[in-house]
Symmetry: C2
Subunit: 272 residues, 2 copies
DNA sequence: CTGAAAATTTCATATGCCGGAATTTTGTCA
DNA sequence: TGACAAAATTCCGGCATATGAAATTTTCAG
C-alpha cells in the first residue's frame, strides 16, 4: 500500500515520529516499532526520541520503555485551538445554548477537507456523534455542522472538497455522491442542516454555519440530541436560536484576520 | 533574565520553536522574533519552520507571515490526553456527576509539580476556576482538586512539591507556606477539600482525590460552583457523591500500568 | 512613493547526523 | 529462578546536511 516514502530532514523525521506515536497504541510504542514505522534505524529513532523527551513532547511510562505523547504536549496543544481566538469567543455562546436548550452543543471549524471539533458542551442526554470529542475530526459533509460548512463554501472550493471527500465518505459507508449533493442543496436552501436521517439510530442533530465578515463559512454550531427532542414543534425554535447565536458569533470574528480561510498547506491526509 | 542558553541539537532547537510559538501571541509570531527568542539566526529558524509547516505542526495565516500552531497540532494532541486511558474512563463519571449535581465538574491529573485539567463538564452556572479550560495547568496546591492530590502524596514527595511550589503560589498572591500546610492537614484529615475561602469571590468548590490501585493519588475530581450552592445541607451529599465516583474510577484504573505515578522527566518549568 | 526592516535564497564550510557493529539491558519461557 | 533471545543503548568513522554570513527579494510603515 502507499507507504509514506519521503526522504526528509532529521527534523521532519522526528516530527513524523510524533505522529506515529500519536496514532499508535495509547499504551505506548516500543522503539523497534517506531523505528520500523518511520523507516529508519533504531539508533536514529532512539536519538530523536531522546530529544523529543528532553523537550517534553514525548514521555516514557516510569521505568518502562514504551514511548507515548507527553501531557506537556497536551497542555501545549490547548493553545493551538485558539485559531482566531474563535474558541474563546465561542465558549459563552456554547454555554448559553447548552443552558437554554439542555442539549449537547458542538463548535466545529473547517480545516482543509475536514471539520475539527474545537469545543463542546454537553447536555444531560447521552449523545453519540461523529466528531466525538474535542479534537475530533470528520470529513466535511459528514454530520450536521460539518455539512453546514461544506454547503456554504464557494462553488469551486466546494467542488474540490466534494471530489476529495466522496471516496472517504463512501468508505465510511454513509453516503454516496448523489446523496451528498442532495444534502448540500437542501442545506443551502434552508440555511441550516437537519439530519434525522438515522445515521445513528435515535439520534438527531442540527447544524448552522458561522460566517466571518466576508461571508465565508469558517465554522459551525451544531446540536446533537435524541431524535424525539427535535420534533416539529421544538425544531423551529432551536433553529432560530442556533442561527441567532451563529450570527452574533460571526460578527465578533476579527474581520481583519484573514486566517482560517484557506489553510495554508495540503492539510489532512486522506484515509482512503 | 535567566536565559535558556542551552546549546542543543538541531532537533531540540526546532522543538523549542514550537514552545516559543505556543507561548507567544496567539495571533502568531514573526520569524525575526522567533529566531531571536530561540537564539539562532533567521535562516536557521526559517528552515526549521518550513519543516514544521510541512509536517503540519505550524501554519501561517493565509498570505501572512506570522507563524502559529496548526490545528493539526490540536487534533494530534487530543490523543495525548489519554494517559492511562484515564480520560475515557472518567468521561462517564463526569457526565454522571454533572447531570446529578448540575454543577461544573473537573478531572485533574497530576503532572510533576502541577495539576492538569484533562477534562471538564460544565453545569448551568457560570464558573471561574484556576485551571480554566481543558489543558489548563495549576501548581499543585492551588484549587480544590489540585490540593486534594497534593495532600495525599507520600510524605517525601509532598515535601518536594511544597518546596518547589510555595514560591510559585506566593507569586500568585494566594497562599503562604503556613496556610498551605494548614490546608493540606485539613484536607488529609477530611479526605476531601473544601475551599470556600473566597479565593474567587462567590465561588466555591470541592475536590476529592482519585487513588490508583497502589493508593497513589493520580488524579482528582472536583466541583466548582457558586458559594451559595455548597451550603451545609447540600455539602455532605455532594462530598459523598464525589467520593463514591472517585472510588469507582480509581478501581478501574489499570493497576498494572505504573505510569502516571512518577512523571519521567524534570517536568514543568517554574514561573518564578 | 520611498526607504528601512523583515523574509528568503545562495553558498562554502564544518558540524553533527547517520547506520553498522558492539555492548548492555530487558522481557520471556522453562 | 535461570538462561536465552530480543530489544535498547552506546560507539564510531564517514559523509550528508545543517549552519550563518552575505546577497537578494519582499513587505510594511510613513
Amino acid at each position: 500500500m502507499a507507504e509514506a516514502a519521503a526522504p526528509i530532514s532529521s527534523l521532519r523525521r522526528a516530527l513524523s515520529l510524533v505522529r506515529i506515536i500519536a496514532n499508535g497504541d495509547p499504551a505506548g510504542l516500543r522503539l523497534k516499532d517506531i523505528a520500523e514505522a518511520a523507516g529508519c534505524t533504531q539508533p536514529t529513532a532512539h536519538r530523536a526520541l531522546q530529544d523529543l523527551m528532553a523537550e517534553g513532547f514525548v514521555e516514557q511510562e516510569a521505568g518502562g520503555k514504551r514511548y507515548r505523547l507527553s501531557l506537556d504536549f497536551f497542555v501545549l496543544a490547548a493553545k493551538a485551538g485558539q485559531a482566531n481566538g474563535l474558541r474563546d469567543l465561542a465558549r459563552p455562546v456554547l454555554l448559553r445554548l447548552a443552558a437554554s436548550l439542555h442539549d449537547t452543543i458542538f463548535l466545529l471549524v473547517r480545516h482543509g477537507y475536514d471539520a475539527v471539533c474545537l469545543d463542546r458542551v454537553e447536555g444531560p442526554f447521552p449523545i453519540r456523534s461523529f466528531t466525538g470529542d474535542i479534537g475530533g475530526r470528520v470529513p466535511l459533509g459528514l454530520g450536521q455542522g460539518s455539512l453546514a460548512i461544506l454547503a456554504h463554501l464557494p462553488e469551486a472550493e466546494q467542488e474540490e472538497v466534494i471530489r476529495f471527500n466522496v471516496p472517504r465518505l463512501i468508505d465510511r459507508g454513509f453516503i454516496d455522491e448523489a446523496g451528498l449533493r442532495a444534502a448540500i442543496a437542501e442545506a443551502r436552501r434552508l440555511g441550516w442542516v437537519n439530519l434525522n436521517t438515522g445515521l445513528i439510530p435515535g439520534m438527531a442533530g442540527l447544524g448552522v454555519p458561522v460566517f466571518d465578515a466576508r461571508g465565508y463559512p469558517v465554522a459551525a454550531l451544531s446540536i446533537g440530541t435524541l431524535a424525539e427532542r427535535l420534533g416539529p414543534e421544538r425544531l423551529p425554535s432551536v433553529v432560530h436560536m442556533l442561527q441567532t447565536e451563529a450570527a452574533k458569533l460571526g460578527a465578533e470574528i476579527n474581520p481583519f484576520d484573514p486566517s482560517l480561510r484557506y489553510p495554508s498547506r495540503s492539510l489532512s491526509k486522506a484515509e482512503p
